[in-house]
């Protein structure tokens, strides 16, 4: 459907160490500010934890081998107390560690979320039109959250586990080398199984995310347009459609939890590692029966084998979780790594004001890989001129305006504002110098006032009132229950014409240098149309404005492009029919 859609890396679920490192390197900047926390959470708390984790079993071994046979209950009490105390300290350390991890996650989520959102708002409009709203919501909300969890929690946890696992296993092997045999026997097949499972799981995870994003997209689309669904009595069909869209999601949901079951059942240290240790233990029982080792030695050896296997198995468990969670991080990167098709210049031109002259110099433009819509289009509009573009529906009037707004960049040629290429402007600064009415009137849920001053840098109550008056909104706005402070809901609780007039007021409430209007009066009645037109013309005075009004409205008196159809783009005489 689209050439620019987010690249779906064909994912077999395989995740090489190199790819993993690449992903994590891309996220390194999010760690930078938090080096103290990182230091604590990657080094200090794991070390402390490792010491306690190693110490506590040693205490129990001593208890069994040394203290109990001595039969001195004072020592027993002492030992048990020491063990309990150690456990409490370990827990305090654990809580501290968790707190830092989740705090880190929070910080990363904020930074990552902001960057992600900013990046999305930097993309060309093509990006937005090609991805359903619901899908973008899912990436912004769920994927960034999971990526932040990976960075803040899973990665430090896995790292800590490596440290602790190696330490505990090392100590165990130092006490007695024999468990190494068990480790050598156990790990190769165990790791192979885990890696296979991880691959499978990652595939399900990705599919589940895609499925759920699709479901979200369906929900968003039908909830936002529920009136059409109802009018066409399509509720039942939409419900059926919803069910079919749920299916792929649910299939991967099921696969995901089966994988989780295998992880918890087998990969988890309480699974294969414990069972294998028990098996080895019982086999060693033979030695005891043969009289080669004492009972105490047997119990200790059992503990040692478990002590050698379990920490390593824990490492692998966390590694697996990490690999799975990396799917979200990769999905976030897919967006972050996409260059905007309308890139920002290194140091954009930041004008205080615009004069307002507009020049199109042999501009060609096409949507995606469709045939060009505008071909070698050239014209100039002098500062202060009022210009209308007219033409058949679908000939590219709105497209022209979108190019002027830099929603898209032309494939060839240049658009110059005040003689400077549009691509050299700081986009946001430039856009703030415009007053714009887009063709489809859209208001945000919120108060009328919030809508009127949407994003405007400076505005005064007078400006707002004046804009309302200009756009013939004063009457109905003041009739609203709370006037300007009435909260407009999802449906906008206004009539079509009122909404449109309000969007016009929104454009006029700004301190603009160029006015771009795309059919601003299409659903306004003749009466207001006349009033608005007169008012705007008087108010804008000598200020430049380019309008793209209703085709062939009698006011389209100025330079008119009769048609911008491909190949027919030429400067035409001013025409009004």
């Amino acid at each position: 459907m689209s050439t620019t859609a987010i690249k779906q890396v064909p994912d077999s679920g395989r995740l090489g160490l190199a790819r993993q490192a690449r992903v994590i390197r891309r996220y390194a900047p999010y760690y930078k500010r938090h080096w103290v926390k990182l230091f604590l959470v990657f080094l200090i708390t794991p070390l402390v934890g490792a010491v306690f984790n190693a110490l506590l079993p040693v205490l129990s071994i001593l208890l069994i081998d040394e203290v109990l046979p001595r039969g001195d209950y004072l020592w027993v009490v002492l030992f048990v107390t020491a063990t309990a105390f150690g456990a409490v300290l370990r827990d305090v350390n654990f809580l501290l560690e968790s707190f830092i991890r989740f705090n880190l996650k929070m910080e990363v989520l904020r930074d990552l979320g902001r960057d992600f959102y900013t990046h999305m708002l930097k993309m060309s409009m093509a990006f937005h039109t090609e991805h359903p709203v619901g899908e973008r919501i899912f990436r912004t909300f769920i994927d960034t959250h999971d990526a932040a969890r990976m960075l803040g929690v899973s990665l430090p946890t896995a790292a800590a586990m490596v440290l602790q696992g190696l330490a505990v296993t090392g100590i165990t092997l130092f006490i007695d080398w024999r468990p190494a045999v068990a480790i050598a026997l156990f790990f190769p097949p165990y790791v192979a199984l885990t890696l296979y499972l991880t691959r499978l799981w990652r595939r399900f995870d990705r599919a589940m995310r895609e499925g759920r994003a699709g479901v979200t997209a369906h929900l968003q689309e039908t909830y936002a347009n529920v009136m059409v669904v109802k009018a066409a009595t399509r509720e039942d069909d939409e419900a059926k459609r919803y069910r079919t869209r749920l299916r792929p999601f649910l299939r991967s949901f099921y696969g995901w939890f089966v994988c989780e079951g295998f992880q918890e059942g087998l990969v988890h240290p309480a699974g294969l590692a414990v069972i294998f240790s028990a098996l080895m233990g019982f086999m060693l029982g033979y030695l005891h029966i043969q009289g080669q080792i004492t009972l105490g030695q047997w119990v200790a050896l059992q503990g040692l084998i478990a002590g050698g296997l379990i920490p390593l198995a824990t490492v692998i468990l966390h590694y697996q979780t990490l690999c799975r969670e990396m799917v979200a991080a990769e999905r976030v990167l897919e967006v972050l790594q996409r260059e905007s098709q309308t890139p920002d210049p290194a140091a954009g031109h930041r004008p205080e004001r615009l004069q307002g002259s507009i020049a199109f110099d042999r501009v060609s433009f096409a949507y995606g890989d469709e045939p060009p819509l505008l071909k070698d289009l050239s014209f100039t509009i002098k500062a202060g001129e009022h210009v209308a573009f007219v033409g058949n529906s679908g000939c590219g009037k709105s497209t022209l305006l979108h190019l002027l707004l830099r929603f898209y960049d032309p494939q060839s040629g240049a658009i110059r504002i005040d003689g400077i290429d549009l691509r050299e402007y700081d986009r946001y600064r430039y856009r703030r110098r415009l007053g714009v009415v887009l063709q489809r009137p859209r208001l945000f849920p919120g108060t009328v006032r919030e809508n009127l001053v949407h994003g405007a840098a400076h505005h005064t109550p007078e400006m707002v009132e004046r804009a309302l008056a200009l756009a013939d909104c004063t009457d109905f706005v003041h009739q609203l229950p709370q006037g300007l402070d009435t909260v407009m809901d999802e449906g906008g609780n206004l009539s079509g014409g009122q909404k449109q007039r309000l969007t016009l007021a929104r454009a006029l409430a700004r301190d603009f240098d160029i006015l771009l209007l795309d059919e601003p009066l299409a659903s306004v009645d003749v009466d207001s149309e006349l009033r608005i037109y007169e008012a705007v013309r008087r108010a804008s005075g000598a200020r430049p404005w380019s309008t793209l009004p209703t085709p062939l409205t009698p006011f389209a008196t100025w330079i008119a492009y009769s048609s911008l159809m491909p190949a027919a783009s030429r400067r035409a005489e001013a025409t009004t029919t």
Partner: protein, 614 residues
Amino acid sequence: MSSAQVLEKDVKDAKSAPPLTVGRTFQVLVRFFPLLRPLWPQLILLFLVLPLAGSVTSVVPALCNRMIIDVAFPRKSVKMLAAFGGMAVLMMLMERLLSVIVRNATSAHLRTRVIEGLGTRFYRNMLGLDLRYHQSTPVGEKIFRSDTDIIDTAELLGLAFPMTVQYLCQFLVTVLTICLIDWRPMAIAAACSPVFLLVAQQFFNYYRKVDARQRVEGEKLTAQVEQSLANVAVIYAHGARSHSRFQYYRALVRYSLANMLYWFLQQVSIVVVWPSGLPATMAGYLIGLCGYWVITGSMTLGQWQAIGLLIIQAIVPLGILLNYYQVIRLRMVPAERVLSLLDSEKRIGERPGTRPIEAGFRGDIEFKDVCFAYTPEKPVLRGVSFSIRAGRRVAFVGPSGIGKSTILNLLLRFYEPDDGQILVDGEDIRSYRLADYRRQFGIVLQSPVIFERTLRENILYGAHQETPPDLGPVIRGTGLTGVVAALPHGLDTPLCGDGSLSLGQKQCVTVARCMAGEPRLVLLDEPTSLGDPASKQAIVEGIDMAASGKTTVFISHDLLTLRNLDEIIVLNEGVVWERGTHAELLARGGLYHGLWTMQTQRRVDTPTPGEPAP
């Protein structure tokens, strides 16, 4: 009610929720039972077989261990060692297989079925709710509810309840086994447990509040993201990126804080109730005490080891149990929310005694003194009466915001009139079955909506015929021939909701959608507002052709398109102001005459080409 108010209300709901009793939990379960009934094999597995098997398989290894130490070793019997050892390993494997892998798979399966069944019903009901609800609830919030609430309810039914049963079983069996070996440790543990439970209770109360907060912030964040991504063009056009980013960041900061607290508390709960931490410390003392009994000779070494293992084994299910008890308490909130929405079915659905429409309408429309207000302070219609005979083409004209679209909204039963009566074919419209009723109409709404589907699906959206109609005439009639030809895959090109077509072309598609349904009554709300003169003409002619002989209601500001209609009704100040044919109204010299002069006058006023810009 604004979204913020709605959300605040939810926080209050969550806080003031009546205390969770076993009775209420049970009621909820019973309510969901019809949904679960077909899944009885899974239910039996989850609630009966697996808990029992899990309990048995989890105590046997410890007992085997004991037998090895107390029986096999003293007798130096390799056979017994092999038998008990083999038994223990086998049981451990079984335990993993049944209690974890099979249980997980069964539970996941159950949950997928619940999500599918319940989710679809929930969604269907959501769509069925009246427009007032939809307009006052942010889309993002509805998404969050249909998505997260349903998945969480499935978790309650498919995971939390079975897990609770499984671990309760396991816990009880383990405790029983310990008591059978030696009753003393359990007596001590029982004496200590009230303190422990009290601490846990207090902690979980707080945890539940934090969870509710987290949910609300999540909803707000979703709503924020939804509204800005759905309107991203406006944000771009205003250069309002930093403004929008600020709003997003504010919501994100609040959400991330609540989220952090939530997860941190989960870790705390691990320390408070899970195997490590508090209970483990208690268990440590217990095991130590048992060690003392071993020394004094009132317990064997084998018993001591078995009890040690079993105590640890009792703590694990206890921790999980408490955790799931907590999950149940948390998930009851979404579950009850889902139920309350499902219950509202009665409110918005059919009233009893409505009749299906078999033959299709003739098309007489009559409004009798209809009064209506969206909000009580501001009446829109104050006694509108008119009648339209079948097959006539009538236009509504009047200033913007006077209530023209409202009349269509009432006619379609999106809202009910406060007073008066609306009749179609001589019967009150409330006596017809809603779905049948709406299908009689072909509608073009004021703002064109395109779904992210193929062009064909978009056009057929309004068609309910058994066999899809031939789209050729419809496409020609709405001037879409060129558009279809230009699309890469013609009618089967998938469209993007916001792109792909120009707005005027989208409007043509909605007109085509209206006609493809072969409706009995045609309602057109500004169907030509965005077209160029040529396509306006094409659409008007197309409508004339397709709608010939059908009752047609036309709303337009462009009076030129209305000249040839049978009747024009002028609305003003909430009532029918004038009515008549174009010529009659002009002759009358009233409001219509004024509007008409204005519209035609300005053509005369048109400055001549080439004149400098004023």
